[in-house]
Symmetry: C2
Subunit: 146 residues, 2 copies
DNA sequence: TCTTTCCCGACTATTATGGTCAAGTAGGAA
DNA sequence: TTCCTACTTGACCATAATAGTCGGGAAAGA
């Protein structure tokens, strides 16, 4: 609960990796997979999906790979999570037991709380750009893998 | 993502229902199930588990049922969610792809963000008591089922 | 034209969720 | 003491989401 799926984490890590190599040409899936400990076939699927978001793009062939479209300070964690977890458009109760038919007609004592929690989380996600993450990693003095 | 499971929601609704009947004797599972649209056999399992938290207790026999142990303003949503989602104790990375063996030894650029999100959510959960929820429901003037 | 790398669709495995069911036990009422 | 009612307990099952795998194909360039 409240823990992002592995897919989400893999996606974020992959983009983080691309951000670190901004303006150094495309990065191969195999490199990202190795550096970030992600199963390569799965990462292929994920990155391919992410192309539709406009956040990343790719190039084929010998010097091919993936690269970030926008600069790391213009891409936020929220952008990625929102894209990967976008829900099919619905006008139903978003906070209820049942998404399709709320037994309380969309009005229950809890809904405002759920909404506030979601808001609080995405406030943080939206405020966190990949440039922030790079800076943060360097500040901590953690062993840099590149 | 960020949406509590049905089990969590059922548990919260059930306790909410008990809170509304505080000091009116035990409430039968069947009543709670009907009022809150919860499958009765499932609710039996959930309420039974919740007894271990000390939040609710039960009585058997003809006038039996479940009841709240503490007053509704002394029980928070956070108490319930924390109990239901408590994880087996671990000293490993709590924010990482792998809980048991973090490929980055528990140090990654994202961990502080995950922790802040979790914190922000539980700030809200902890601040929301069941008395608050009752008050809130009445303020809105929503149709009261009891 | 050959290698490298991404592309794409289908398929599979594992896990979590969301339950159900049956037999039992305790509390009272009659 | 008998019987009904309601909680108790453990095992069991169904479905869906997650977390992948696999194989062939297609572009880019050397």
């Amino acid at each position: 609960m409240l823990v992002p799926t592995k897919k989400n984490q893999y996606a974020l890590r992959a983009i983080f990796e691309l951000a670190k190599h901004m303006d150094q040409g495309p990065v191969k899936i195999s490199e990202i997979a190795a550096t970030q400990s992600i199963p390569q076939p799965f990462l292929e699927v994920i990155l391919n999906q992410l192309k539709a978001s406009g956040i990343v793009n790719s190039k084929r062939g010998f010097f091919g790979g993936y690269f970030l479209v926008k600069s790391p300070d213009r891409v936020s964690v929220g952008d990625v999570l929102r894209f990967l977890n976008r829900e099919p458009p619905t006008t139903d109760c978003i906070a209820c037991v049942s998404k399709t038919s709320c037994p309380f007609d969309g009005r229950c004592a809890f809904s405002s709380m759920w909404i506030r929690v979601k808001q609080a989380a995405f406030d943080i996600y939206d405020q966190t750009s990949f440039q922030d993450l790079i800076d943060r990693e360097q500040d901590t003095g953690w062993p840099d893998k590149q």
